[in-house]
Amino acid sequence: MKDLLRIKSLISSDIEALLNQQVKKEAFSSSAYLAMASWCNRNGYDFSSEYFFKQAEEERHHQLKFYKYILDMGGNAVSPEVTGIKQEYNSFREVFEDALDQEISVTNAIKNIYARCMKEQDFVTMEFLNWFLKEQREEEYKARRALELFEVIGEEGTGRWQIDKHVGQIKYDSEA
């Protein structure tokens, strides 16, 4: 008897479900960043707004990467419904705290998929995920650095204005 399921798809249905969950997570992240960009823009933090627009774009790019991978491997990529995006924030700092939480949760989700791949010996998907693991280093670094600015600059006086200016300059170019 032929192994028809394997002939049709390289990834198992469990991995496919996890990857589809990740598609949704990345879509959620992208929308959340858009909401942050909007809030920052409305409150006069133009550099941060620009920063979050770029982040939203990046998350969308990640989403499509997962989406196309599922399809290329013979799976069924599901276009996700995204609901429950937080639109209002209590403070400038809260926006960045949420951004870091978001990135930590994405890193954890990718680690979970990786763990599942190891169990199934799905080396192909593991290799695909390596790019994302490296990407998360940068994403978490940037989110953490933004919060660090609140500590080193301080919010008093023109502090928030300074922080906003520096958020636009955050870069991760480590060769580690």
Partner: protein, 119 residues
């Protein structure tokens, strides 16, 4: 499990008292003998059937005391077949599909361990 007959070229995958699933290698599809009919499912639709059946909350249906009939219509998009099943039949179909996918998984492991390594 693997009892191929020359005439039909269908392989028994799994069967219960209420139904059976056969695989046809030539057509690359499965035939589900259940609820009085034999229905052909290709890879996509077979997975959709599994998803639809697994999504039914049997416990909730059992606890439901309203006067609605315990009937579930399983309709799969872009598939010729449709099932109208009672609660008992849903449980049977679920059992049949669960067994089938365990067997397909087993078949996958056998292919992996025996054939792939000897190529």
């Amino acid at each position: 499990m693997i009892a191929t007959t020359e005439l039909t070229l269908w392989t028994d995958v799994f069967s219960t008292k209420t139904g059976a699933v056969y695989q046809c290698d030539a057509e690359r599809c499965w035939y589900v003998d259940f609820a009085g009919k034999v229905a052909r499912f290709d890879h996509r639709n077979f997975l959709k059937l599994r998803k639809a059946v697994y999504a039914i909350d049997i416990e909730q249906k059992l606890l439901n005391t309203t006067t609605d009939p315990d009937v579930e219509i399983i309709f799969i998009c872009a598939c010729d077949h449709c099932y109208v099943l009672s609660l008992a039949q849903i449980i049977s179909l679920r059992e049949l599909l669960e067994g089938t996918f365990v067997m397909l998984e087993l078949n996958h492991i056998i292919h992996d361990r025996l054939y792939s390594n000897s190529l």
